[in-house]
Amino acid sequence: MSVYLLRRLIQAVGVVFAMSLIVFIGVFAIGDPVEILISPDADQIERERAIRALGLDLPLWEQYLIFLGKALQGDLGRSFVFNEPALQLILQRMPATLELAIAATLGAIVIGLPLGLYAGLRPHSLGSKAIMAGSILGFSLPTFWVGLMLIMVFAVQLGWLPSTGRGDTVEILGMRWSFLTADGLAHLVMPALNLALFKISLVIRLTRAGVRETMLMDYVKFARAKGLSPFRVTFVHVFKNILIPVVTVTGLEFGSTIAFSVVTESIFAWPGMGKLIIDSINVLDRPVIVAYLMIIVLMFITINLIVDLTYSVLDPRVRLEGK
């Protein structure tokens, strides 16, 4: 186990290092931040001053080495537009995004698993057909459009839910959370649902496919023949065996929800990391873009590790040391 973890750790360091190089060069190639940030009526002297102030007068390799040196001390640079440490900016907005991603993922599991189970156990019932048709919609409708429709129906037409922003928050451990207030929860419902829609469909389909496949297995037939209750057959023997693909996909989906909930966050003006990164890309705020991608790489590495560890719990045949 510890050998396995150590090996994973060394791999992770390599990936992070390679990623930092790729991101840095990529960001460098997009365009010139000074051209975007400078006031158009700035004169030549002011432009030269701004280039120096942002450290852009140095050659690329020197900028990268400076970045690397500071990064090793935990400093990922200062945002050009906020004049605050990039890491701090991102961490400040992380709770908002985490909250949204957790709500969406929980929603996907709580809604998706039972529906998928039902559709798998009674594949020919009318209810199952409706569920499967619905899941196709969940896959194919663009988040952007669904988000706007949700706003139009529930905020503009019915007036049940607030259309924008994060609402009241409570401060815990220096971070703001909105799921603890009624107003905050009301603000959370629509963006979370919007994000969850695709995931719900995914979980439904995975679960249904798994159930249908497992139901034909010999051990299920045997369990039935043994006279076990349908409940026990379903929730112990079948359920445990369909969870592996569901856990994998949910884990990876959770990662991409945190990293790329850009569309939902901008439509609902949700002040999370997705909104920060898209604003930063628009103005080429290089330190924030680089820091953000570094954090996302680290996050995916961690999630993958957790997913692998979960396998070994769900299925004893999966051995972590083995390679």
Partner: protein, 537 residues
């Protein structure tokens, strides 16, 4: 004032849900008139009034801080923290300061604060675009008494009062050693303005309460919640849902619908942002321009844009009326100059160029291009209202006179760098002016010169010594009527030579509940002090 980003971001609300146009339920009426909830389209990144010269930041800074000179909605200079100003000698400006003004923390406003502010401008660490340019002309500051201050300049400089409306005054006592972080936290966001900061949640919202000891017109609301809702469709929807009382940057495609809504009111004014085409003057008469070829795609061996007849032809080929009506939905004014009617140095007799495709073809033939040539028109697609669509329309209009035009639109971040390196033959771009024609002309038509600080945004590299000399003379003239006449003549000269091809000036649009009224601002700034409860309509 200059850097507002008015992007037309993809699908707008009207396009998505026009089916919902009817049968909208009753909106909550303005019962909570004590709080004004505003939604703005551009993110505010800092509360430090001297960190980044950027419109959204300036709008918020204008709520907290004040300047020696202010401008009204139509961009005319007004007294601010200074009550009067005059040039007491050719190189000395004297400003009389307002008595009895206090900062939010009770500290008194005096000439010391003005001197302190001017000292800070060039010394804000890490600033991506500082305000130092507005104090560049001042060689020495002289405090005559606590309410009188004099600025000594190297040469006569008529623009000083204009420069001062970009400089927000901070307090020498409160802000000694102030950092941008201190301002951002809200702790040091202490000015003399009508609103004080209660809370700043970066990238989300800023909460204000009224400054009860404000010297000017009392603010009309107890509290203001200033929220950043960058998605156009979502901002409009939030207004319709009653979550926001007031929004800016109304997308032109939603305009007709919002106008028809009984519960809402629209406020608008002609702005100061000119949309124009820059042409390649950098390549000489016998050089190839990068994106111009003959009709078979071979290099021409010369730069046709150096011939004023070609430039005139391209100018005459554009149907500005059609662009304004069809693409801009009426939210623009066709023009041949930088500033809208009613502003200082607007030229009344300089009319928008008449649409004349036949005349354009004749001029092309005269210049030696009876069969035209090929050109590429470059444009941003996320910066100005409907920018890429305007470029496409112009491409078609030019093609009709025989100049076969390929349009390439790309995101601003990649467009602007290449435009600045003069890599384009023709490009569409905008300019937000200070209300004085010398401002745009110094920056985008004057020959680039580090010494004078001119032409840093002259991306076509137009260069005309006669023009530069005339502009230089006007900037030494302290008599305003004389200077205005000089500026008008210079603008006629630039128009005659088609230094750039002006298209239209954008209209600035805000939408709000019918229970509110708003003084629309030509400079695009969205500020709470311009909003009041409506008097009965």
């Amino acid at each position: 004032m200059r850097k507002g980003i008015r992007a037309a971001k993809g699908v707008t609300l009207g396009a998505v849900v026009s089916a919902w146009a009817l049968a909208i339920g009753p909106a909550p009426q303005g019962a909570a008139a004590q709080t004004l909830t505003m939604g703005v389209g551009a993110p505010v990144t800092s509360l430090d009034p001297h960190y980044h010269q950027l419109s959204p930041n300036n709008a918020v800074a204008d709520m907290i801080f004040e300047k020696l000179t202010h401008t009204d909605g139509q961009a005319r200079l007004q007294p601010g923290l200074a009550t009067e100003w005059r040039a007491v000698a050719p190189t000395v400006w004297e400003f009389k300061l307002r008595a009895g003004v206090r900062f939010h923390n009770g500290s008194a406003f005096t000439a010391e604060d003005v001197a302190f502010t001017l000292q800070r401008l060039p010394n804000v660490p890490n600033s991506p675009s500082s305000f130092a340019i507005y104090a560049r002309s001042i060689q020495r500051v002289e405090i005559v008494d606590p309410l009188t201050i004099r600025f000594h300049t190297a040469a006569p400089y008529p623009l000083l009062p204009l420069d001062m409306f970009n400089v927000r005054i901070i307090d020498a006592e409160t802000h000694a050693n102030a950092t941008t972080e201190g301002f951002n936290s809200g702790q040091l966001a202490v000015g003399t303005g009508p609103w004080r900061v209660v809370q700043h949640r970066s990238g989300d919202r800023i909460e204000f309460e009224r400054n009860d000891t404000y010297w000017g017109d009392a603010p009309a609301f107890q509290r203001v919640s200033y929220r950043m809702v960058t998605n156009d469709a979502a901002r409009t929807a939030a207004l319709l849902a009653g979550d926001l009382d007031f929004i800016d940057q109304v997308p032109t495609s939603d305009l007709a619908r919002l106008r028809g809504d009984q519960r809402l009111a629209i406020s608008e004014t002609v702005g100061l942002r000119l949309i124009f085409l820059g042409l390649d003057h950098a390549r000489g008469e016998n050089e190839n321009s990068p994106h111009i070829t003959d009709n078979d795609g071979r290099p021409l061996g010369r730069n046709p844009l150096k011939d004023v007849r070609v430039r005139r032809a391209l100018n005459m080929a554009i149907d500005r009326e059609a662009i304004t009506q069809r693409i801009m939905e009426g939210a623009a004014t066709p023009t041949a100059q930088f500033l809208p009617p009613g502003t200082f140095s607007h030229v009344p007799d300089l009319r928008p160029t008449r649409f004349d495709p036949d005349g354009a073809r004749r001029l092309l033939a005269e210049a030696g291009y009876p069969n035209g040539f090929r050109i590429q028109l470059n444009s941003p697609n996320d910066r100005y209202i409907n920018d890429a669509r305007i470029a496409q329309a112009i491409g078609q209009m030019w093609t009709r006179i025989g100049v076969r035009t390929a349009v390439e639109a790309q995101t601003w971040a990649t467009f602007i760098g290449r435009a600045s390196r003069a890599e384009y033959s023709a490009h569409l771009i905008g300019w937000g002016s200070d209300p004085d024609a010398s401002h745009p002309m110094r920056n985008i038509i004057a020959s680039p010169s580090r010494e004078r600080g001119w032409g840093a945004s002259n991306r076509g590299r137009y260069a005309n010594p006669a023009f530069d000399a005339a502009l230089e003379r006007s900037l030494r003239e302290l008599d305003e009527p004389t200077r205005e006449r000089m500026l008008m003549d210079i603008q006629r000269m630039a128009a005659e030579d088609v230094a750039i091809i002006p298209l239209h000036i954008q209209t600035n649009i805000w939408a709000m509940r019918r229970t509110l009224q708003h003084t629309a601002r030509a400079d695009e700034l969205t500020r709470a002090q311009d909003v009041r409860p409506a008097t009965m309509r």
